[in-house]
């Protein structure tokens, strides 16, 4: 049994430090796929990725190749991407439209969009008298045990039991409320482009980095400084630099001492919110026009509530990082103990003026594209971490910063004032990890 290969599991996580095996042991990886990713709610995609019946997108959940597909009944299904006959994958493309049914490329078995068997060639002559046929549910494409959607964002769980999606997300669902509420129509639609980047490091290293408030001014110094130089030069020349330069220069101008003024809010199941820092509410004509549109849709009071929602990142453990004010998200797909795929999407706020989209697009291109000047240095650090963690140079990863000084408020852990760089998010993620891993 797999868990017998990891006999010291219970000793791997302490409140303030974690054993290196958690990141570097392939057996631990297999066990966490079994007990975490293939059980909890995992983000599959946005409903607008599959608008028409037959539209599909393939997605990896843990080790399982899945396919998200829109049915004739408009319902979004999530199925194992596998033919019950000989096990061939049904959808070989990453996305597309499968027409009125799925058809296996090997022996032409066909399936409805809900996975139910449609037809087998020679159904009568070939299978009569066998235990294989329409009445046998094993002849269907297997469905994800549970599928649920919150404000258009589709999740699946491969375990029949467990908390509902909303219970699981808890206060973390503000990520989706925030992104949707910023649209005057209360909805977003995906921009059909997915930037995909491979990180040669364990999936948890990425998640821990997302809310590591101390790293930007160190890791991203070079890009922040370069952008600041050019920003100042443009300001001198024209009076005002585009906001996109600020998005990059903030990595350097917000110095380490200032990062402690931010705050993380840490919730059960490993979720976490990092409060905002970019000051994305300038007083330019575009923003003012957008604010007028929002006020018209929601009223002045509600508009203020929406625009003062103080979020930079919401991390939804174990595989999603949402930047709601910039309308983007990064989904994390673990490929191996030292290999992780990130899938990066961005969204349009339905009904919002075009310049608001352009702002999100600038961030998407500059920070999240495969030519990013930001992630380049993150990936370098992640790789270095993975190399070091595989060594015998030490046994533990330290999460001690501001340990013991966080504020417990009910089941939420809040960083104390002036201690925003507390490693509370990492401690909180590892607490969730240990709880999930302990369940056989």
């Amino acid at each position: 049994m797999l868990h017998e290969k990891v006999p010291n599991l219970a000793k791997y996580v302490e409140p303030d430090r974690v054993r290196k095996e958690v990141y570097a042991d392939p057996d631990v990886f297999q066990l966490e796929m079994e007990r975490i990713h293939e059980r909890v709610w995992i983000y599959c995609g946005h409903e607008s990725q599959v608008r028409k019946p037959g539209d599909f997108y393939t997605v990896q959940i843990g080790r399982q190749p899945m396919v998200m597909v829109r049915g004739q009944d408009r319902k979004v299904n999530v199925l194992y991407n596998r033919c019950p006959h000989r096990g061939a994958m049904i959808c070989g493309d990453r996305h597309g439209n499968t027409g009125e049914f799925f058809r296996c490329s090997y022996h032409a078995w066909t399936f409805n969009h809900d996975g139910s068997l449609k037809n087998i060639p020679m159904m009568q002559s070939g299978y009569e008298g066998t235990r294989w046929g329409r009445d046998n549910p094993d002849c269907n494409m297997k469905r994800a045990a549970r599928v649920a959607s919150y404000r258009g964002f589709v999740f699946a769980s491969l375990a029949a039991d467990g908390p509902t999606l909303e219970e699981f997300l808890g206060p973390g669902k503000i990520a989706f409320d925030d992104i949707c509420d910023r649209s005057p129509e209360g909805e977003v639609e995906v921009v059909p482009n997915c930037f995909r980047m491979i990180q040669n490091s364990n999936w948890k290293i990425f998640l821990e980095n997302q809310l590591d408030a101390l790293h930007p001014s160190v890791t991203h110094q070079s890009t922040g400084r370069a952008a600041r130089d050019v920003e100042l030069e443009i300001e001198k020349r024209t009076g005002k630099a585009p906001l996109s330069y600020h998005m990059l220069s903030a990595f350097a101008t917000v110095t380490i001492d200032k990062w402690d003024n931010f705050q993380t809010l840490n919730y059960p199941n490993g979720h976490c919110i990092l409060t905002g820092y970019m000051g994305l509410r300038p007083k330019d004509p575009d923003t003012l026009e957008y604010e007028r549109v929002l006020a018209k849709a929601y009223g002045e009071k509600r508009k203020e509530e929406i625009l003062t929602t103080n979020i930079h990142h919401v991390l939804l453990y174990p595989g999603l990082s949402v930047q709601s004010p910039l309308q983007q998200l990064r989904a994390v797909r673990p490929l191996g103990v030292d290999k992780t795929l990130t899938e990066i999407w961005h969204f349009r706020l339905k009904g919002a003026p075009e310049p608001i989209y352009r702002r999100a697009l600038a961030y998407y291109n500059l920070v999240n594209s495969p030519a990013t000047m930001i992630n380049a240095d993150d990936l370098e650090n992640f790789w270095k971490c993975q190399q070091g963690l595989g060594s015998d140079g030490g046994d533990w990863v330290s999460f001690h910063r501001h340990y013991g000084r966080d504020l417990q408020k009910g089941d939420m852990i809040e960083t104390a004032p002036g201690m925003g760089t507390s490693e509370a998010p990492m401690r909180n993620q590892m607490k969730a990890w240990a709880e999930l891993m302990a369940k056989a």
Partner: protein, 213 residues
């Protein structure tokens, strides 16, 4: 024929914007890069074609493309940026079907200001991901002159590239198509738009692109 800048023969130190850097690694200096210094005579069209303007143009733009890619391989970032017009754009579409970078995602969509950010970043001593040994080699071919841009009169030229990159111990290959929109200026040809379509731009990126391809 535009006069071409001669590449400096001497190797200046690394991390200067305009000059070819000598590459160094933790273990010591890598061998100095050999400079390709084109002899002036090679810039002239052979006598037999001396009065064939199409051939001269072909020769001129081919030389331009070769030299531009060498600036990347020699890490002469400022010289590379200077080949663009003031409103010049370097564009790598996210989707091969895109016809503009305005309002759609792109892998690169950089004007000279953003190019300068990228240059300053890679020259910064704390550009961590660029500290390991790193180098590229471009090969440009299949140069085809297309009909001029009817709006601007720009010379439009399509070519194919193959680029090998070494970073630390990993080799990566990128290949695809360039379409250059070139403007004739008193200082020679300049790039108004360079569209770069990488044939493997649609695949997942193992690591990211650091500079222009």
């Amino acid at each position: 024929m535009a006069t071409k800048k001669k590449a400096p023969v001497k190797q200046p130190p690394r991390r200067t914007a305009n000059k070819a850097p000598a590459k160094s690694t933790r273990k010591g200096k890598a061998p100095a890069r050999k400079k390709t210094v084109a002899a002036p005579m090679l810039l002239r069209a052979p006598a037999a074609h001396h009065h064939d303007p199409m051939h001269e143009l072909y020769h001129e733009v081919s030389q331009f493309l070769y030299r531009q890619s060498e600036l990347l391989d020699d890490q002469r970032w400022q010289d590379w940026i200077d080949l663009f017009t003031e409103d010049g754009i370097y564009w790598m579409p996210a989707d091969p079907g895109d016809t503009t970078w305005e309002g759609v995602p792109s892998i690169f969509a950089e004007d000279k200001n953003l190019m300068t950010v990228r240059m300053k970043r890679v020259l910064h001593p704390d550009a961590w991901s660029q500290k390991p040994m790193w180098g590229t080699s471009h090969v440009i071919g299949n140069v085809v002159i297309l009909p001029r841009d009817p709006r601007t009169g720009d010379v439009v030229v399509r070519s194919r590239f193959h680029m090998m990159e070494l970073r630390r111990d990993s080799t990566r290959h990128f290949a695809g198509t360039y379409v250059h929109h070139l403007v004739r200026t008193p200082n020679g040809l300049k790039v108004r738009l360079q569209r770069t379509d990488m044939v493997n731009g649609q695949a997942a990126f193992d690591y990211v692109l650091q500079v222009w391809v």
